[in-house]
């Protein structure tokens, strides 16, 4: 445990020194907040761009607060995913490529601790950034549109966080099993993309798929009730995370550190 906390602290300090603690939360705030703000000011934006031609009558129904919040949060499943993958892909592959992993692992360091401490660092960064970003989005939605009950918001935050944790763990997994950060990042994005794509049309059969969690979060915000499959989907997601993490350690241990 002592060794694990040493490794974990190192991750936190590293993320502080390379400013991940600054730019990831800020990006999450900007991503989320831009949605309520731009929806609110859309009429003025159109005006300032020269307005609509004389005589055009287009009714733009003002979106509801839930719709705005959903739009804001769904930024995290696109650009947010990209940010998570880009900021995590080098976490193991980068250290192995540079050779510093070999310097550390000739010391009596457990491979399990080495990987899980890194994962935990990314986990903390993700959940904190997502919390700050989505609270800001919720707040601006409240000011500019309507206040969404905090418990509903919080439940959907958890569901989004859970899906993004899958993305994070997948990236850690590829970073542990592939040799270069770039390839690890690309593969992670490809897998997440394909997974989301497949789940869409097959959603009737894949009700427990982890990538459904964000849909359930959205439904939750719209209907104020937790969708039926949320619990089994969450449990399956947790299982996926644990299995992926375990596989990361297993594969990393099998690999030779020096080539």
């Amino acid at each position: 445990m002592n060794q694990w906390s040493t490794l974990f602290q190192k991750e936190l300090i590293e993320m502080w020194r390379n400013f991940k603690w600054v730019w990831v939360p800020i990006t999450f705030i900007l991503l989320g907040v831009s949605e309520p703000v731009s929806s609110y000011y859309l009429p003025q934006i159109i005006d300032s761009l020269g307005g609509l031609p004389e005589g055009t009558v287009i009714e733009i129904p003002p979106p509801t607060a839930s719709e705005v919040l959903i739009q804001g949060l769904s930024q995290y499943t696109t650009i947010g995913v990209l940010i998570i993958v880009l900021s995590t892909m080098a976490i193991i592959a980068g250290e192995r490529k540079s050779g510093v992993a070999a310097m550390i692992l000739v010391k009596p360091v457990s491979y399990f601790s080495f990987i899980t401490a890194k994962w935990a660092g990314g986990f903390l960064l993700l959940w904190v950034s997502l919390l700050i970003g989505s609270i800001a989005t919720w707040y601006y939605t409240g000011i500019l549109f309507d206040w969404i009950p905090i418990d509903l918001f919080f439940q959907s935050y958890l569901l989004y966080g859970l899906w993004l944790t899958v993305v994070l763990t997948l990236t850690v997994f590829f970073s542990a099993s592939l040799l270069t950060p770039g390839i690890a990042g690309f593969t992670s994005l490809a897998v997440v993309f394909v997974f989301t794509l497949v789940t869409g049309p097959l959603s009737n059969w894949l009700e427990w798929s982890p990538s459904q969690l964000t849909n359930y979060a959205n439904e939750l915000l719209l209907s104020s009730a937790i969708p039926d499959d949320t619990l089994p989907a969450s449990l399956l997601t947790l299982a996926c995370i644990i299995i992926l993490l375990w596989l990361s350690v297993f594969i990393f241990r099998k690999k030779e550190l020096a080539s």
Binding site: G99, M103, V106, P108, L257, A258
Partner: protein, 302 residues
Amino acid sequence: MSLIQINHLKKSFRGTEVIKGIDFQLDKGKCIALLGPNGAGKTTTLRMLSGLMEPTDGTIIFTDAKKGEDIRELIGYLPQFPVFYEWMSGLEFLSYAGRLAGLGRKEAKDRSLELLKLVGILEAKNRRVAKYSGGMKQRLGIAQALIHRPQLIMLDEPVSALDPIGRREVLDMLEGLKKETTILFSTHILNDAEEICDEILFLHNGKIVESGSMAELRERHQQPKIDLFFTGKSGEYAEIFSNHKLTHSISVEGNRVSVFVTNIVLARQAFLRLIAEQNLPLERFEVSSMTLEDVFMKVVGK
């Protein structure tokens, strides 16, 4: 007293056998050089001993290791090109390594400062590793290998990348470390090995072609030799010695005549007498011992 026992170690990469079954043992408190030309398999051998690589075949047994003990606790390793977290300071990296090796926070820091002093980069302790020079990184690398007071330290080409001054300092440092721990280091520089090592392992094409202490090696490969230096052309004097009954073979190079003899004691007396009788213009008379380079050429050449 043996510290580590290596039996029939083999390593293949995609079917190519790089290490072809080597056996040796390292004795406690000794300084052993792993010598060999580039590509002989020195780095691969060290990586297997440090646990970074899995041997294809064979065993590595630490005599003192208790059952189930992590052998990484017993060894310190410096790779050929040490890398660090560039965003850490030297002191931070050492303390981090120490903590990972099981030292307490205070203990790790004290030991780090002690080692930074030993390797001579104490004044740079708070500088980021990114700003360190190559020589300083090498020193930091040696310090991190020593942090947990391992029983065996393995250094891969510790001085090859250093300038003459840095090389001198690191060699002196190793000389001092010999008292505390067992050292195994690889090098292709013969002088370094000859200077500080008790024992030598010659690795060539993945095999150990020769091993032993310097004295043993000399004895085994000794071809007694007398070097004679004359004023002017030495060639004309070579004849006088080439017909001598104690001469085995002779070679002339510049003003030096090297006479390989069958019996050094008799030859020395006979030659000195001969020189005096014939009043030869001798400048220097040298009973030379075989250098490591001679041994190296001999074992690698065959």
